[in-house]
Symmetry: C2
Subunit: 457 residues, 2 copies
Amino acid sequence: MKNEREVALLKQLILSRKTDEIKRILSRLHPADIAEILEEVKDENKKVFFELMDLEKATEVLEELEPEERIPYIESIPEMHLVKILENMSVDEIIDLLQKLPDEKVEKLMAKLPQEHQQELKSLIKLAQDSAGGIMTTDYVYLYADKTVEEAIEDVRKFGKEAETIYYLYVVDKEKHLLGVLSLRELIAAPRNKRISEIMHKKVVSVRVDEDQEKVAQLISKYSLLAIPVVDEENHILGIVTVDDAMDVLEEETTEDIHKLAGITPEDEILLTTNILGAVKKRLPWLVVCLLGDLISGVVIDGYSTVLEKVMAVAFFIPVLMATAGNVGTQSLALSVRGLATGEISIKNVMKFLVGETFGGMFVGVSCGAIIATVAALWQKDINLSLVVGASMSIAIMFSAFIGVLIPLIFYKIKVDPAVASGPFITTIIDVTALLIYFALTVTFLGIKKTVAFGRF
Amino acid sequence: MKNEREVALLKQLILSRKTDEIKRILSRLHPADIAEILEEVKDENKKVFFELMDLEKATEVLEELEPEERIPYIESIPEMHLVKILENMSVDEIIDLLQKLPDEKVEKLMAKLPQEHQQELKSLIKLAQDSAGGIMTTDYVYLYADKTVEEAIEDVRKFGKEAETIYYLYVVDKEKHLLGVLSLRELIAAPRNKRISEIMHKKVVSVRVDEDQEKVAQLISKYSLLAIPVVDEENHILGIVTVDDAMDVLEEETTEDIHKLAGITPEDEILLTTNILGAVKKRLPWLVVCLLGDLISGVVIDGYSTVLEKVMAVAFFIPVLMATAGNVGTQSLALSVRGLATGEISIKNVMKFLVGETFGGMFVGVSCGAIIATVAALWQKDINLSLVVGASMSIAIMFSAFIGVLIPLIFYKIKVDPAVASGPFITTIIDVTALLIYFALTVTFLGIKKTVAFGRF
């Protein structure tokens, strides 16, 4: 709670309408802090705050807000101001914003921007939001390969003001083909009369404009880059993605993965703290699918109800069996989905992982089976039942460990997002299977004849 | 599979012992790629690769490996070489490495390093591995406040060679108190005769040396920094944490969170693809705790077994009830644990979130209750049973949604890691509660007298 004092102070000041004081405080706060404070104040006061910031600050604060949070502010800002703010914003942020606004508003705003800016935005706005093109900025510095270091330093001074970063300089030819890269550090250290082409790195890690944003962020992380260039299929440089945007992407993608794993449908437009209907829309779809799936467990019990009628104690172990097998499945799922997301599991070591986890699952299965068999023997004083419960537990756990790992790997292989294999989904499959294993062993080894057939449903 | 070709080629070359060719290929590969390739080759060949790289490259490759992966290589490198490699490595990486080595080895190595280096390492090695101090590097550039821009640029040229980044320059006084910060970009653009104290930013975002590494990474992300300075309680600068290390921390912490959520004990030393015993150690503890917890569900069924004896159909709905309530709990848990991790949920909006999710849970509960009641009515043709099942489902879901959100929030409030409230743990509580609700309603509304008491166990 870093800004608690500021929030309290600002709230007081707004009550007493001391606008000069507010102005002073806002001017010395970091845009990221103002964005946090804005969440705390009433809607009408948010507008007041925006009016009291200078244009540059207002732009920076807007950039700090999530794209969907910007809309209410944008709508309260007079169009004249808005055009100026858009001119100040970095291109990737403008695009994010325009993609959220209604079409007619976008056209109106665009019409007021300089002609060349319009053209650029129009081509960018069509790119997929979750691709390299969707998150790149076109504010970067390029150098021509045939210039000298001296001339290049001058170019950086001149063109670097608008750029998002000047620490990586991209080297191009006259047609803007990406030829190499140079850090500002290397440029400064280089002899003044050398040509850029002589000192640049010719091996550049770059991404195609249609590359998935998660992959882009992973590359930046893997090679510890401050930015990565985005190119088209002919290797023309189109823009760059900077490390701070990569961090945001990773955070966003991780949240999406965790939610999917828990069977929550990702909803772009719906915020966490938003209305109840949003919450329901995120949660209900998978729940209903799994509810219907779990009814099959009921059908299985129905089919074997004569078993329960004869030995009621069989029922006592249904919950622990289903729950433990489900827990093992959830563990395997988490290990493989996360391993795939971080690249720790790849096509190269997938068999090693699958075998390792399956053997691990066998060991876990035998351990848990032994525990439950002991408990069952002590509790029910029925050695046959305890053996059946123990064996069922072991087999069910091995199965769970195996499919909890296998299903996401298959999804990965056929290029479906592995996180779609959500916990609830896997657990449903495991529940039914565990029950079937348990009843099959009960019937076989306890010598109970199953008389009622399936299919009463 | 970027490096597939290289891997195949290198494997062939090593068979035919073409070391010169291998040397050539290794010299033009990025260290991050070599680190990936190393995972693919046999242990004895790994050593060969290390011998064929020059010292600088070998150091960079070691830095790319996870600290625990480095040990086998380190042990195969002759001590003389190792000392040179340590001298080349950045301080934070050396510390990571030394912390994994046995004490006697550390002392032996340290003794061979230059005296002042030894002193520095000895004080750093004591810092907690997951604190700002544990991940910072001491290779940064500082400027004295009273120098001119001209002199400062000269200092950057001179001292910048060793530094991890020269893009942020930290301004200090003679006692190394942190006074301000300046970007290289601003320094270059500034008039040559100005004093540093006149152009520096006096508001610096910094972290205390004992700050948690996750918090450090979040600050870097929030303020879009390339590095953050680490200070002691008297505001002396001790080092910096760079954005690439922050990304690694976020990845590591996220993996830990996802694993904890799935009831997997984080094991620092054990790698994903490692031996079976490692897998078992990660998985078994929570499983056994939950297994014992889930036995209570069995005791509940035992206590109500007369109910099942009279109306067997009651048993058919036990799995779907437990599973659906468990799924809702898992969803709530994921929403709140992730919301807390990203800072989307904070003390300020926690009530809003709790109320929103609980009302959402009520709506979800009523929806699922209606569905299962309809199914039960059609299947069992028993309107009373279907009402009991529907009502139990609704109540159990509301309860699950509520405690799935509440428990991590309580943990957060009492400063326990919210991710400890793992899915299996919450599900166990929910399973037992759902059963108790179901049987209580059954006894009350189906008019079945519960004759057998609890406590046979």
